[in-house]
């Protein structure tokens, strides 16, 4: 195992249940500083839940999550908020504040957390917007943006406070090929240029695998496979191969569990 200071985020023995449904069952995850790590798995495996656990928005049933040496769930509210200032998060649909324009959305965390003069805030916001290529869109309202643009604005907002890490929740879902390409490139570029650590939750295999240094495959509340994209393609796990290659049938059955087909038809709904 690598030196612990190389690890920015780690989950140890993490378990979490929603009602009677066990979402995570004793999982261990390490995320290296400066890397782009992908968390992949079928829909409903709790990938987003994992991000919320890392961000301290949910409490695990057992186990710990450590971010930059601090145990997230042992922190007091004020300390947690201090830690969150160093974490950026990109929500699935951007989650821009709909009553403000693009500029004010990006300026929002700066205005809330700093006493910088307005001129400096303007420069900072324009720099962040320029980095995502939307300096010219500063006057638009969120409702006037396409899905891809909204995510880029949200990305500019997420890096406004120069965080140490960014978590991406399904950044590629529902994007056309051009904005997909832009987002993929931006995530890698920002990660390397700003010295960030990125965590991407996604089930878009090709896009994610192209930029991820490290991939965790989750299923049924467990880490099924872990390694680089190459490792996983040659993985011994049949499940990982099914997932990576997108095969319709395999260890994950095509059919939702049901009673016997013939029996079901013959019973005529009278059973």
């Amino acid at each position: 195992m690598s030196n612990s200071s190389d690890i920015l985020v780690s989950a140890r023995g993490l378990s979490f249940a929603r009602g009677s449904r066990q979402i995570f069952n004793d999982i261990d995850i390490n995320i290296k500083r400066g890397s782009v790590t992908a968390i992949m798995g079928p829909s409903g495996t709790g990938k987003t839940t994992l991000l919320r656990l890392i961000g301290g928005q949910l409490q695990p049933d057992s186990g710990t999550v450590t971010v930059d040496g601090e145990a997230v769930h042992a922190l007091r509210r004020g300390q947690l908020y201090q830690l969150r200032k160093r974490m950026g998060m990109l929500f699935q649909n951007g989650a821009l504040l709909t009553d403000m324009n693009v500029f004010d959305n990006v300026a929002f965390p700066l205005r809330e957390h700093t006493d910088l003069p307005e001129r400096l805030i303007r420069n900072l916001v324009l720099m962040k917007l320029h980095a995502v290529g939307l300096r010219g869109a500063r006057g638009l309202m969120p409702s006037e943006l396409s899905g891809g643009m909204a995510r880029r604005v949200a990305l500019a907002r997420a890096i406004a406070l120069d965080p140490m890490m960014i978590m991406y929740d399904e950044p590629f879902t529902g994007q056309d090929p051009i904005s997909l390409g832009v987002l993929v490139r931006l995530i890698r570029l920002l990660n390397d240029a700003l010295g960030l650590t990125s965590i991407i939750v996604s089930h878009d295999i090709a896009e994610t695998a192209a930029i991820a240094d490290d991939i965790y495959l989750l299923s049924g509340g467990k880490v099924v496979a872990h390694g680089s994209a190459e490792d996983l393609k040659q993985s011994g796990s049949e499940w990982a191969r099914q997932f990576i290659q997108g095969l319709p049938d395999g260890p994950v059955p095509f059919h939702y569990p049901a009673e016997d087909y013939a029996q079901d038809l013959l019973s005529g709904g009278l059973a």
Binding site: Q57, G88, A95, T98
Partner: protein
């Protein structure tokens, strides 16, 4: 068929559900108040919300106030004239408005106009993850979103109720003095003589202040507690209007009994 036990169980579940929500609402109330002191430094947030909660409710309050006043003038005149006491019309109109109709009708309209809008806005912010995003930006959505809206509601309600009563008195004047021939001087002087600053006006202001707290509290809680789906937000909006209307009427009875019950 359901057994008696099943019914009892449902009843019990509803009961504990109610108290659980009440508990959550109370905790939220405390947290909203906890955020209030820091807002004195950023009062512009409250002013902004006072505009959308209060100023934008003005039209409905003005129009309703005028009509309620006119109806009071008409009904009051018809009753008073039988006793030859139509000179007292000003007193009837103003006391009805200041003590009861002003605070109560304003609060009901306020719940429908501003309360429902608050719930829908906050509920949708939750559904579109805006509140979550704020949390992740280390900004407490309760302080940034809920507290300014709550304070705006509490500030707006007494002012709106005062405007409602004032316009209502003018409406009563139009009908009573303008159309039905009540003496102009009597309308105003009797009102001046009989309406007490503390017993009537102040109690009315207290009522409208309490209703303002209740309506806005229910509205922001329902929005914050809403299930983050379209259906959840629509249900929450309906609950805001229904629950706050019931709470206003029940609270009005209690306050009236406390304020005017000893005569």
């Amino acid at each position: 068929m359901k057994s008696v036990l099943d019914h009892l169980q449902t009843l019990g579940q509803k009961g504990t559900g109610f108290f659980e929500r009440l508990g959550r609402a109370s905790i939220l109330f405390a947290r909203i108040l906890g955020g209030a002191p820091s807002l004195f430094l950023r009062f512009s947030l409250v002013v902004q919300q006072t505009y959308s909660v209060g100023v934008l409710s003005l039209l409905i309050i003005l129009v309703s106030g005028l009509f309620v006043g006119m109806v009071l003038g008409l009904q009051g005149y018809n009753t008073l004239v039988d006793f030859g006491a139509e000179e007292s019309l000003g007193v009837v109109v103003s006391l009805s408005l200041v003590r009861e109709l002003g605070p109560v009708v304003t609060a009901l309209l306020f719940a429908g106009r501003a309360g429902s809008a608050l719930t829908a806005e906050i509920g949708l912010m939750k559904a579109t993850e805006q509140l979550s995003a704020m949390e992740m930006m280390a900004i407490d959505p309760i302080r940034r979103v809920l507290t300014p809206r709550f304070l705006a509601g509490v500030i707006s309600m007494p002012l709106l109720a005062a405007i409602f009563s004032a316009v209502g008195v003018i409406g009563g004047y139009f009908v009573g003095v303008g159309l039905l021939g009540v003496d102009d001087g009597a309308y105003w002087s009797q009102m001046q003589a009989k309406v007490d600053l503390y017993d009537d006006l102040l109690n009315g202001v207290i009522k409208s202040f309490v209703f303002g707290i209740i309506v806005t509290w229910i509205a922001v809680f329902e929005g914050y507690d809403a299930t983050p789906t379209s259906e959840g937000v629509s249900r929450a909006t309906t609950r805001t209007v229904v629950h706050s209307s019931l709470a206003i009427l029940a609270m009005d009875f209690i306050l009236t009994a406390l304020m005017f019950g000893e005569h």
